[in-house]
């Protein structure tokens, strides 16, 4: 009974110290729910709970019966105390449970001590039963096999093959502005994936990201404010690098008009300006006004000849890329400067015309 009281107090101290679930905490606190209340209650009910000298076996309680009473009465005490704790406005807090259970244990312990002191029946311990070494070894072997079975089962369940998937979602953002959304992508595949997000209404492209890589379990989120000239649906489409032209996931939301019909969209992802410095020398400037970095390509053509072809270059959000170009032209006339985005390299995004003069023989290599 002293051990029961000490165990209850120790468990309360551990609960009060707090912290996360640990093996030590579980092992120390678990008896407070599943063993100690029942033991203390049974000890209070049976002052001679540990066995009575002179009482035949059949009229006494066996070990299994005592175990049954301890376990079942622990659960019963927890249930009854649970209903009482429910009446407390604080409800089922850890402190409430710890105080209630330990209080119950200590009260029953006290009653048991008093009843034992008054009991005419002497309590004695039963003879210890010795177990052969072979039996111990067999039991240990059985436990080892069961433990390995559990490990195999757990690992097998964790490694069960399921088809990977990618989550995409859109939610209204915490903003007073209309058409503010948060878009998220979560990679639940087994390997890193490269994605791209595009948002468009029926008539306009509203947003597009660059290609981005997500490792397994990683999340990509963007808060966006969409400028829309006509109310309707905005479709958010996710593309994968394995099939860049095939929509992989699609979600959609309703957007309201927040721009006049004649106004340009608030989001101008990119501008292209070309400044002539004479003698076919030009300064080209690509400004990224979008919310994320973009990859571009500039191509200049004149009279079916390609005069210039830039490599793919990336401009950060809000950044400007400037570069000088000197063109060698066979015919005087106009040249077409086109800006392409990596998302759709077959479709010009911006086009500017510039004057060029012949500075190369019309015929020849």
């Amino acid at each position: 009974l002293l051990l029961v009281a000490v165990g209850a107090v120790t468990a309360v101290v551990i609960v009060m110290l707090g912290g996360g679930a640990s093996v030590v905490r579980v092992l120390m606190v678990l008896p407070l729910v599943l063993v100690l209340p029942g033991y203390a209650f049974a000890a209070a009910m049976f002052p001679s709970f540990e066995g009575v000298r002179g009482v035949p076996e059949e009229a006494s309680l066996t070990i299994s019966e005592r175990t049954l009473i301890v376990l079942s009465m622990s659960i019963a005490a927890t249930v009854v105390l649970g209903f009482l704790i429910n009446l407390n406005p604080g409800g089922f807090a850890a402190r409430s449970w710890a105080y209630a259970l330990s209080g119950f244990v200590l009260v029953c312990d006290g009653v048991a001590v008093i009843r034992r002191l008054r009991s005419p029946v002497r309590v004695h311990r039963r003879h210890r039963r010795y177990v052969a070494r072979k039996q111990v070894l067999l039991s240990v072997l059985a436990l080892g096999i069961v433990a390995s079975a559990v490990v195999i089962g757990e690992v097998g369940a964790q490694q069960q093959p399921y088809p990977g998937f990618t989550e995409m979602w859109i939610l209204p953002a915490q903003s007073t502005l209309s058409n503010s959304f948060t878009v998220g992508v979560v990679n639940q595949q087994a390997s890193p994936q490269v994605y791209m997000v595009r948002i468009h209404s029926r008539h306009h492209m509203l947003y597009h990201s660059t290609w981005f890589t997500l490792v397994p379990r990683a999340t990509w989120t963007r808060s966006l404010h969409l400028g829309v000239r006509r109310a309707g649906r905005a479709y958010v489409t996710l593309y994968r690098s394995q099939a860049p032209h095939k929509p992989y996931r699609t979600v959609f939301v309703h957007v309201v008009r927040n721009l006049s019909k004649t106004a340009r969209p608030a989001i101008q992802p990119a501008t292209l300006s070309v400044e002539s410095r004479g003698a076919n020398n030009f300064t080209m400037r690509v400004a990224n006004r979008g919310t994320s970095s973009q990859t571009y390509l500039v191509v200049i053509r004149a009279h079916h000849h390609r005069l210039y072809h830039s490599p793919l270059f990336t401009v950060q959000s809000g950044g400007i890329r400037t570069f000088e170009v000197h063109l060698r032209v066979r015919h005087t006339g106009s040249a077409r400067v086109r800006l392409y985005r990596s998302q759709s390299l077959h479709k010009p995004y911006k086009t500017v015309f510039v004057k060029v003069v012949q500075n190369k023989p019309a015929h020849g290599p």
């Binding site: 009910m45 039996q135 096999i145 097998g156 309703h254």
Partner: protein, 631 residues
């Protein structure tokens, strides 16, 4: 209890006990060795589960071989001579725990069975709100019987562990309580370790024991405590008078757990106690020398407690149980009157609602198991009346065992097979005692021969395997790849991800409509409020099975406060194993056992105000809160 006239031979010991028999009665005997064979059985089941997860078709063989390795040696030893009480109890405990591990290995990472998810919701609510009796949309009656959840959440709160870990610990303790109480009960009645051991082993052969009795649900608590109350009351008869008050206090405490823990267990206990008291009264009319403490006060306490709790606190119980019982009785009467129509028509045995047929060998074993029981049942009843005619509880159990054929009849009717299936946990209590008495007293009365023991072991093994194969559709016996509308086999990562996303992204408590499998996940892990007819919400099948969303259906959705609709695209590609959408709409019946057409699932894209907020390939989540507002 001098009327119990078992000879020493009948108890399993020879007339003159040999020294080795005396030693066996006080030591662990074969227990350590058989614990190794039982562990090997569990190991085989684990290997089978792992292989089944990889989609290996032969993995099921490991399950059945593992179960036989687990069961048969223990059963054989319980029938053999020289069995001591400790050894018998230890063997039954090993078998009980082994079978509990078998269920654990089926889903070792979380609760996945439908009933488990329903009770997880109640436990989650208690942890979240720190109080009891919060409505549970998945199982409205569950919060009113929170005993299991109280114990589980107390462990979770105090130790900081999850509901899953806490629940596993509680279930393991309840399994120990079940084995100890049942063994003690049968031992107190029969005074024979062999009858008690065989009884417990045969109880484990009921069709629900392998999975349903081990799941995180209220009957897993109610039944062990029902056995505990019965055991304490029987034990009270043999204990000294000064202990009777203490035992009465223990019995009443356990009764409180049942009354607040499980409605059917409470009602079953009430019925048993009242019958026990009545039979005792009848016996005392003719045999005045029969003495012992009365059970009438406990029957009255059970009556008052159960009635008061149902009327004052758990008033939903009547509305929950009555329609099911009424439906079962009506269907059964129709069957008798050959008025078979509609859903009440005769159910085809071994056929799931999705049209799956159990393999031939499973059908054969299941039928053989029933025959094995029916052959020994009259012998057992006769033995019980012959040997225990002055023990009221034994007579009650003998009478109750005769209900077993009635539960078989319930399985023949579509509307009542569920009751017939679930009642096996209760019917097998008297049945296991009667069968155990029959086989031990008649077939193994002390003349121990290898052939007799082997025959009896085969008999018990057939009953056990027969019970296991009828525990559910054969594809659900083991874990494995995804199946549509297939209870635990439908709980897969992307469904869990959608439910978890809803909980985190849109918060809890939104009214959501979906198919049955996803409703369970959305209600438990997602903390949403699935619209189900069982919780008083609208019948969602009216718009799920509609070809298009007309203004009427949009308005219907709006009046049902449907905020989100979760569409599982696999409904259009997989054949469902069970119910897809809960409801009364008869249109859905034509899609039973075949995939739902894609157009029925895609129609939620069309309404102008519908928004698809989430897409993971298989599951779409639509916000339809603004659909139908102007209709």
């Amino acid at each position: 209890v001098s009327d119990v006239s078992l000879t020493r031979q009948e108890r399993g010991v020879s007339a003159r006990p040999a020294p080795h028999a005396v030693a066996a009665a006080t030591t662990w005997g074969w227990l350590p060795l058989l614990s190794v064979t039982a562990a090997c059985g569990v190991f085989l089941v684990s290997v089978g589960d792992t292989e089944a997860r990889m989609g290996q078709p032969w993995a099921e063989a490991f399950l059945w071989i593992g179960l036989v390795v687990l069961f048969a040696p223990v059963a054989a030893r319980l029938m053999w001579h020289g069995l001591g009480r400790n050894e018998g109890l230890g063997l039954t405990l090993i078998l009980g725990v082994g079978l509990y591990l078998t269920k654990f290995l089926h889903s070792p990472l979380g609760f996945t069975f439908p009933d488990e998810l329903m009770h997880v919701r109640t436990a989650e609510d208690i942890l979240l709100h720190r109080h009891l009796l919060f409505p549970n949309p998945l199982l409205p009656v569950s919060p009113y019987y929170p005993a299991l959840e109280i114990v589980t959440t107390s462990i979770a709160t105090l130790t900081g562990s999850s509901i899953f870990i806490s629940g596993l610990i509680v279930l393991a303790v309840l399994r120990v309580i079940l084995v100890f109480s049942l063994y003690g009960l049968l031992h107190e009645i029969s005074r024979s370790p062999r009858i008690a051991g065989m009884g417990v082993v045969l109880y484990m052969a009921n069709s629900n024991f392998l999975s349903f009795s081990s799941i995180f649900a209220y009957e897993s608590l109610g039944i062990p405590f029902m056995f505990t109350v019965l055991f304490i009351l029987v034990k009270r008869e043999s204990m000294a008078a000064r202990y009777r008050f203490s035992l009465a206090a223990i019995a009443l405490s356990a009764m409180v757990v049942i009354i607040t823990g499980h409605h059917v267990s409470a009602l079953a206990l009430l019925l048993l106690l009242v019958t026990w008291a009545a039979v005792r009264g009848v016996i005392r009319l003719f045999h005045t020398h029969v003495r012992g403490p009365s059970v009438m006060p406990f029957a009255l306490a059970s009556l008052i407690g159960t009635t008061a709790y149902i009327l004052v606190v758990a008033h939903l119980t009547i509305g929950y149980l009555a329609p099911q019982l009424r439906g079962a009785i009506t269907a059964l009467m129709s069957l008798i009157a050959r008025e078979q129509n509609g859903n009440n028509s005769t159910r085809q045995l071994f056929h799931s609602s999705g049209g799956l047929v159990a393999p031939a060998w499973e059908r054969g074993v299941a039928i053989a198991a029933v025959l094995c029981i029916l052959v020994v049942l009259p012998i057992g009843v006769w033995q019980v009346y012959k040997r225990y005619s002055l023990r009221p509880l034994a007579i009650v159990l003998g009478l109750a065992a005769l209900l077993y054929p009635c539960t078989l009849a319930l399985r023949l009717v579509g509307a009542s097979w569920q009751i017939g299936n679930r009642s096996s946990e209760f019917v097998f209590l008297p049945l296991c005692f009667v069968l155990g008495s029959g086989i031990v007293l008649l077939w193994l009365p002390g003349r121990f021969t290898f052939v007799r023991t082997l025959t009896a072991m085969l008999w018990a093994s057939i009953i056990f395997i027969g019970g296991a194969v009828t525990s559910g559709p054969h594809v659900l016996h083991m874990p494995g790849p995804y199946l549509q509308s297939a209870d635990e086999r439908s709980v897969v990562p992307n469904s869990i991800a959608a439910a978890s996303w809803m909980r985190v992204a849109v918060g809890s408590g939104n009214v959501v409509a979906s198919d049955w499998s996803n409703n369970l996940l959305l209600g438990s892990m997602g903390q949403q409020e699935p619209a189900l007819t069982s919780n008083g919400s609208i019948d969602t099948s009216y718009f799920f099975f509609a070809a298009t969303l007309s203004s009427f259906q949009k308005h219907y959705m709006h009046t049902g406060r449907i905020h989100y609709i979760v569409i599982d695209n696999r409904l259009s590609t997989y054949v469902p194993l069970g119910t897809t959408f809960q409801g009364y709409n008869t249109v859905g019946e034509k899609y039973a056992g075949r995939p739902v057409p894609k157009r029925l699932l895609r129609k939620f894209t069309l309404p102008r105000r519908s928004e698809r907020l989430y897409d993971n390939g298989d599951l779409y989540i639509y916000d339809v809160s603004r659909v139908g507002r102007t209709s």
